[in-house]
C-alpha cells in the first residue's frame, strides 16, 4: 500500500505526463476533470482522508491541499497558453483580403440638377424666399412683353424661341414666372422660381432644354447694394467662404441697371487657371434692379417699391461645381454618370 505521500508524487507525475502533449483547451478540460473533477484522482485522495489516523490528518490535509494548489496552477498556466494559441490560430484562419470588392447595397442618386436646385433653395429659403414654379408653356406676354421686351425689340434675338403657335411658346427664361407672381402677390415679395427653359440652341455648351433658377425681391427701399449683399451670401454658401462676387454692367430688358455677376474662381482662388480661363473670375449669373415698366405692368407702384432679380443656369452651376465638361451628359441618363452624384 502506497503512502499518501507516494500517492501524491504519483499523481503529480501522472498529471505532468498527461499534460505533456496537450494542444487544445478541450483536451485540457477533459484531463482536468479526470484528476480534479468529481471521482477524479485528487478527489479520491481527499476521500481517503477518512482512512488516515486522526493525528496525521492535519499533515496529510496540508499535503493534499498543496497538491491541489500545484495542480490548479499547472492547469491554469497551460489553459492560458493554449487559449492564446487557439486565438492566434483562429485569427490566422479568419484573415481576409480587405482589398476585395465591396458587396454593394442598392443606392440611388439624385440628378445633379436636383442636387444644385435643392442647395440653392436651401440657401435662399433661409433668407425668406418662397418657391414658385410657373408653366413651361408661356405666351408672348409673360415671356416677353411684360418683361419689357416688345415685339420689335432686338433682345428677342438674344434668346432663340421655340414657338407652338403665334402666341404660345416654350418659355426662354424663368423670369416669365416673375410676372405671374407679381400679378397675384403684393410686396413684400421674395420668390425663387426654378424650372426648365427652352432655347433653340444645340451645341457643346448649349442645350435646347436647360434649367434656370430665378430670384426676385420687391419691397420698399431695395437697392443695388442689397442685390450685391445677397449674391455675396449665395456665392459663399454655394462656392465657398472665400469666394467673392463682382458686378459688371450688362443689359437685360427687364432690369435697369443690369449686371453680370462673376464669382472669384474657386479653383485657383482668383490667380487664374483653366477653369476661369486665366481671368480669375467665373461668370455665374445675370441680375439687376427690376425695370420700372415691369413693376408698373404688374400693378406695383415703382415709386413706392423697388426690387431686384437674378437668374442663373442650374446646369452651369452644376457643371462648374462638379467639373462636368459636357452639358449633354446631364440629359443622357447614363448610369455610370448618374452613379457619381451621391451627395
Amino acid at each position: 500500500m502506497l503512502t499518501i505521500k507516494e500517492k501524491i508524487a504519483e499523481i503529480k507525475k501522472k498529471i505532468d505526463e498527461a499534460l505533456a502533449n496537450v494542444k487544445f483547451t478541450k483536451s485540457l478540460y477533459e484531463i482536468k476533470m479526470k484528476f480534479m473533477g468529481k471521482g477524479g484522482e485528487v478527489s479520491d485522495l481527499s476521500k481517503s482522508m477518512r482512512d488516515v489516523a486522526p493525528e496525521d490528518r492535519p499533515e496529510v490535509g496540508k499535503q493534499i491541499n498543496e497538491l491541489r494548489c500545484w495542480a490548479d496552477g499547472k492547469f491554469g498556466e497551460l489553459d492560458e497558453k493554449l487559449k492564446a494559441e487557439e486565438l492566434e490560430r483562429k485569427y490566422a484562419e479568419e484573415k481576409i483580403d480587405v482589398t476585395m470588392p465591396v458587396r454593394e447595397s442598392a443606392e440611388g442618386a439624385y440628378h445633379p440638377n436636383t442636387l444644385i436646385r435643392n442647395e440653392l433653395v436651401s440657401v435662399f429659403s433661409g433668407m425668406g424666399f418662397e418657391v414658385f414654379e410657373g408653366p413651361e408653356i408661356e405666351n408672348d406676354y409673360y415671356n416677353f412683353t411684360a418683361l419689357n421686351t416688345p415685339k420689335d425689340h432686338p433682345a428677342r434675338d438674344m434668346q432663340d424661341t421655340f414657338y407652338l403657335s403665334n402666341d404660345l411658346l416654350l418659355r426662354t427664361q424663368t423670369s416669365a414666372g416673375q410676372i405671374r407672381v407679381m400679378e397675384n402677390k403684393k410686396p413684400p415679395i421674395k420668390i425663387l422660381s426654378p424650372g426648365k427653359v427652352y432655347r433653340s440652341d444645340d451645341d457643346a455648351t448649349h442645350s435646347p432644354m436647360f434649367s434656370q433658377m430665378e430670384g426676385l425681391v420687391v419691397d420698399r427701399g431695395i437697392t443695388l447694394c442689397d442685390l450685391k449683399g445677397m449674391l455675396d451670401e449665395f456665392a459663399k454658401k454655394i462656392f465657398g467662404e472665400d469666394v467673392k462676387t463682382r458686378l459688371r454692367p450688362s443689359y437685360f430688358p427687364f432690369t435697369e441697371p443690369s449686371v453680370e455677376v462673376d464669382v472669384s474662381c474657386f479653383e485657383c482662388g482668383g490667380k487664374g487657371c483653366r477653369l476661369c480661363k486665366g481671368t480669375g473670375w467665373i461668370e455665374v449669373l445675370g441680375a439687376g434692379m427690376v425695370n420700372r415698366r415691369v413693376l408698373q405692368g404688374c400693378g406695383i407702384d415703382p415709386d413706392e417699391y423697388t426690387g431686384f432679380a437674378f437668374g442663373m443656369g442650374i446646369e452651369r452651376i452644376a457643371m462648374l461645381k462638379y467639373g462636368i465638361n459636357n452639358m449633354k451628359l446631364l440629359f443622357e441618363g447614363d448610369v455610370r454618370f448618374l452613379k457619381q452624384f451621391k451627395d
Partner: protein, 802 residues
C-alpha cells in the same frame, strides 16, 4: 464688333495701353471678347536693301547680299521672281518669326522661326519676305497680295523694324455690344464711350462738303411704307470716277475684315464701320424714271441681290424700287441690277432707318444676313442717319471721286425726332444704387456722356444725347452713373429695410422631394430628358394612329424632326435612355424621372395646355416585373396610399406582363415589361420594365401620416397552403382573406407551386396571415377565423386547403 486701336485714336486721344483700355471698356459695360495684336506672330523682320543679286545657275534662286543697316549685311538665297538689286524688302533675320505659307505662297500654315540654312548648298542667313508671310494683304499694304517679295518704298531706312511701316503695331478690339446700345455698333460709338471713360473730348469726324448745282437731275423719292421706313435720305453725286480707294481707307476696312471693292462702295462700308449707319449706293442710270419708291414687296416679286442670289419676296419684305422693279432689299442688300460698275458716272447714296424687326424678319426668312442687316436689326438712330450722309459726301470730296450735287431728298413720314429732355433727382439715383455718389461726380459723368446737365439742388434737368434712345427713366441714369463711377463702389448690404418673409418649399413641393428621396433610397437614379421627341419615338411604341399619345403639341420651328413634338408620355424618353445604357454596356440600372407631359385641349394649340407632372420608372438587368412593382410600392408608401394592380395591355408592353395601376378606384398608371418585339427592334439584351404614373392625380390621393396605437395583445400568424385554379390571382385570394375576418391585418404570399402534386390546371399558393387583436386576446378564436376564411375561399373561389 471689331475696332482697331489706330482708328479709335482718330476720335479720342487714347493715352493708355491696349490692355488698360480693355479693362476700362470692361468696367463700363463693353466686354472685349478678343484683343488681337495685329503683329502678334511677327518679330525680327527689318528693312533690307538688296545690294547684290545674281541668279544661281540651274535654279530659280538668286544669291543676294542684303543690307540691313545696323543689323548687318547678310547673304540670303531668295526664290522670289521680283528680287533684284536695289529694291528694299522685309528681311527676316535669323531667329525672326513669320508665317509659313503653303506652296501657293498665300495660305498661312503656321508660324515659323527663321534659322540659318542652306538652299541648294548655298548658305542663307535670313529670308526676304512676301506680304502673306507677314500677315499683310494688298488692302493692308500696297503689294501685300503679290506672291513674290513685298516691295518697300526707298524712303524706308535699312535695318528699321517693318512693323510700324506695315501697320502691324496695332490692336483690334472685338467688342460685345449689348442690345440696348446700338449706338455703340461703330468706331465712333465706342470712341464716345472711351472718351467718357478716360475723360477726354471726342474729335468729331469731318462732315463738311459743298453742294453743287446743275450736276444731277432731280430724283423723286416716295415712301409708301412709313411704318417700316421712318427715315430715308437720298443724295446724288455726279461726275463719279470709280477707282481704288486710298491705302488708309483700304487698310481700315481690312483690319475690320472687309474687302476693298472701289471708292464708292468702300465709302458706304467705311461709314457703316465708322458711324454705324449702313449705306447704299445705286448706279443712277439703272433707276428707271430717276425715282425711288420704298414699299412692301408684291407677293412673288423677285430680286437678285449683289451676291447673285435670287429671292422670291412677299408683302412682309420691304424693298427699294424704281418705277418698275425692286433695286434693293431694304436694309439687307442691294440689287445686282443697280450695282456700282467701273463705268458708273452718277450715284445715289442712301442713308435710311428701317424698322428693326422687319429687317430681322426678312433676313431670317430669306436666310440672307449682312453687316447691314445686323446693324439695322439692333437699331439705328436718325441722328446718325443724317450725319452719315454728310460724312459720305465729305468723303466723296476728300477722295476726289465725284461732285456732290444739290439733289437731296429727306423723307420722314412721322417727322424728325425732337431732342428729348428728362428730369431726375440725385437722391433717387442714390437710393436705387444704395450708395451716395457725390452730386458733382454724377453731373461730371453725365456731361462726359454728352448729356446736357442743368443741376438745381437735388434735381437734374437733362438733355438726352440724340443717339441714346435707350434712356427711359431715372434707373437708366443710375446705370450710366454707376457704370462710369465703378461697380466696385457697390458694397453688399443685406436688405436692412425689407420686411421679414417666410421662405421655403410649400407642401406640394415638399411632397415631390420626399417622393424622390424614397426612390433614391430604393436604389434608383434620377434622370432628366428633353421635353420633346419625334413621331418616330411614338412609332417605336407601336402606338396606333388614334392613340391619345399621338395628340402632341408641335413646335413650329424645331431644331430638327427629332425634337419637334412636346411629349405626351415619358415612356419613349425612358426607353431611349435604357437603350443607350445597354448599348454602352451598362448591365443594369433603375431609373426614374419626374417631369411634365403636355396635353392640349385641341390641336393646333390655342390655349394654355395642361402641364401634367408624371413619374416614369424604368429598370433593366437581372430584374423581373416584381422588382419594378417594388419600386412602385415605394411610391405608394411615400404618398401613404394603396395601389391595386390588374392585368392590362399596352401596345409596347408584354401582353402577359402588364398591369394597370389604380388608386381608390382611379386608374393612375401602368407598369410592365417592354414587349419582346419592341426590345428586339432596339436590340436590348436585357429585359426592360417601364412604369408611368400620373403624379398629378396621385398627389390628390396622398394622405398625411398618422400614428396607429400599438396593439395591447401580441399578434398571431397562421400559414395557409391553398390549392386553386391556375387563373385565380393572388389579389383575389388576398381580398377574400381580408374580407372574411376583421382581425386580419396582413396577408403575404410566400410560395407558389404548380405541378403534378396539385394536379392539372391547378396551382398551390401559400400565405402567411397575420391577425392583430384589438381590445382583447383572440388566441382561442383564431382557429375559428381560419375556418371561416377557408369556407369563404371555397365558396367564392373554389379554393381548398392543401
Amino acid at each position: 464688333m471689331k475696332a482697331p486701336l489706330s482708328w479709335l485714336k482718330e476720335f479720342v486721344d487714347i493715352d493708355v495701353t491696349a490692355e488698360q483700355l480693355q479693362e476700362k471698356l470692361f468696367d463700363c459695360g463693353f466686354e472685349v471678347e478678343e484683343l488681337t495684336y495685329v503683329g502678334k506672330d511677327i518679330s525680327g523682320v527689318v528693312v533690307g536693301e538688296v545690294i547684290f543679286c545674281e541668279p544661281v545657275e540651274g535654279t530659280h534662286l538668286s544669291l543676294c547680299r542684303v543690307d540691313c543697316g545696323d543689323k548687318g549685311t547678310f547673304q540670303i538665297c531668295c526664290g522670289a521672281d521680283n528680287v533684284k538689286k536695289g529694291i528694299k524688302a522685309p528681311c527676316a533675320l535669323i531667329g525672326a518669326t513669320v508665317y509659313a505659307t503653303a506652296k501657293d505662297h498665300v495660305t498661312v500654315e503656321g508660324v515659323m522661326t527663321i534659322k540659318k540654312g542652306k538652299l541648294r548648298g548655298i548658305e542663307s542667313d535670313g529670308m526676304l519676305c512676301s506680304g502673306a508671310e507677314l500677315g499683310v494683304n494688298g488692302d493692308m499694304y500696297e503689294g501685300g497680295d503679290y506672291c513674290g517679295l513685298l516691295i518697300l518704298p526707298d524712303s524706308c531706312k535699312n535695318g528699321e523694324d517693318v512693323k510700324d511701316i506695315l501697320g502691324l503695331n496695332d490692336y483690334i478690339f472685338d467688342i460685345a455690344v449689348t442690345a440696348n446700345r446700338p449706338d455703340c455698333q461703330s468706331i465712333l460709338g465706342i470712341a464716345r464711350e472711351i472718351a467718357a471713360a478716360l475723360d477726354k473730348p471726342v474729335k468729331q469726324p469731318d462732315l463738311s462738303y459743298t453742294q453743287n448745282a446743275g450736276v444731277c437731275a432731280p430724283v423723286h423719292i416716295r415712301d409708301e411704307a412709313g411704318d417700316l421706313c421712318p427715315r430715308y435720305i437720298g443724295h446724288a453725286v455726279g461726275n463719279v470716277k470709280i477707282a481704288p480707294s486710298p491705302a488708309w481707307m483700304k487698310r481700315r476696312l481690312a483690319l475690320c475684315g472687309l474687302r476693298s471693292i472701289n471708292n464708292i462702295v468702300d465709302i458706304t462700308n467705311y461709314i457703316l464701320l465708322e458711324m454705324g449707319q449702313p449705306m447704299h449706293a445705286f448706279d443712277m442710270r439703272t433707276l428707271g424714271g430717276r425715282t425711288i419708291i420704298i414699299r412692301r414687296a408684291n407677293d412673288g416679286e423677285k430680286i437678285v441681290t449683289l451676291d447673285e442670289n435670287e429671292f422670291t419676296l412677299n408683302g412682309e419684305n420691304l424693298v427699294i424700287c424704281d418705277e418698275s422693279k425692286p433695286v434693293a432689299l431694304a436694309g439687307v442688300m442691294g440689287g445686282l441690277n443697280s450695282e456700282i460698275k467701273d463705268d458708273t458716272a452718277e450715284v445715289l447714296f442712301e442713308a435710311a432707318k428701317f424698322a428693326r424687326d422687319n429687317v430681322r424678319k426678312t433676313a431670317r426668312a430669306l436666310g440672307q444676313h449682312s453687316d447691314s442687316s445686323a446693324i439695322f436689326e439692333k437699331g439705328v438712330y436718325e441722328y446718325t442717319t443724317e450725319r452719315a450722309m454728310k460724312r459720305a459726301l465729305n468723303l466723296i470730296e476728300k477722295l476726289g471721286c465725284g461732285t456732290v450735287s444739290d439733289v437731296h431728298a429727306d423723307i420722314c413720314p412721322a417727322g424728325k425726332p425732337a431732342g428729348r429732355k428728362m428730369q431726375c433727382s440725385i437722391s433717387k439715383i442714390n437710393s436705387l444704387l444704395g450708395i451716395e455718389v457725390p452730386a458733382d461726380e454724377i453731373t461730371g459723368i453725365l456731361k462726359r456722356l454728352n448729356f446736357g446737365v442743368n443741376r438745381r439742388g437735388d434735381l437734374l434737368e437733362l438733355d438726352i444725347p440724340e443717339y441714346r434712345e435707350d434712356i427711359d427713366g431715372y434707373p437708366d441714369i443710375a446705370e450710366e452713373v454707376i457704370r462710369m463711377y465703378g461697380y466696385k463702389h457697390i458694397c453688399g448690404t443685406f436688405l436692412p429695410s425689407a420686411s421679414i418673409t417666410n421662405g421655403g418649399y410649400n407642401a406640394a413641393q415638399k411632397a415631390e422631394l420626399r417622393l424622390k428621396e424614397k426612390l433614391v433610397a430604393a436604389g434608383m437614379y434620377e434622370i432628366s430628358t428633353y421635353s420633346f421627341y419625334s413621331e418616330k419615338d411614338l412609332d417605336m411604341l407601336r402606338l396606333p394612329a388614334d392613340a391619345a399619345e399621338r395628340k402632341a403639341i408641335k413646335i413650329l420651328n424645331p431644331i430638327g424632326e427629332d425634337l419637334s413634338l412636346m411629349r405626351t408620355t415619358l415612356a419613349p424618353s425612358m426607353l431611349n435612355v435604357i437603350t443607350r445604357n445597354q448599348r454602352r454596356g451598362n448591365a443594369e440600372g433603375k431609373l426614374f424621372e419626374l417631369a411634365k407631359i403636355y396635353i392640349a385641349e385641341e390641336l393646333p394649340i390655342k390655349n394654355f395646355p395642361e402641364e401634367k407632372p408624371t413619374l416614369c420608372m424604368g429598370i433593366w438587368g437581372n430584374y423581373d416585373f416584381f422588382d419594378l412593382k417594388g419600386c412602385i410600392e415605394r411610391v405608394a408608401k411615400a404618398l401613404n396610399v394603396k395601389f391595386d394592380y390588374a392585368p392590362s395591355q399596352k401596345p409596347y408592353l408584354h401582353p402577359g406582363i402588364t398591369a394597370e395601376i389604380s388608386c381608390e378606384g382611379e386608374i393612375i398608371g401602368y407598369a410592365g415589361q417592354v414587349a419582346p418585339t419592341v426590345a428586339g427592334e432596339l436590340a436590348l439584351e436585357k429585359p426592360a420594365f417601364i412604369a408611368e404614373l400620373d403624379y398629378a392625380a396621385l398627389s390628390a390621393h396622398a394622405k398625411p401620416f398618422k400614428y396607429n396605437p400599438l396593439p395591447k395583445f401580441a399578434v398571431a400568424t397562421r400559414d395557409l397552403a391553398l390549392v386553386c385554379g391556375k387563373d385565380i390571382t393572388c389579389a383575389q385570394i388576398e381580398k377574400e382573406i381580408y374580407g372574411a375576418c376583421k382581425y386580419v391585418t396582413d396577408v403575404k404570399l410566400f410560395d407558389v407551386y404548380a405541378g403534378e402534386q396539385v394536379g392539372e390546371g391547378k396551382k398551390s399558393m401559400a400565405f402567411t396571415v397575420t391577425f392583430t387583436p384589438a381590445d382583447e386576446a383572440i388566441d382561442e378564436r383564431i382557429d375559428g377565423f381560419v375556418k371561416k376564411i377557408l369556407n369563404n375561399l371555397k365558396f367564392k373561389l373554389d379554393v381548398q386547403l392543401r
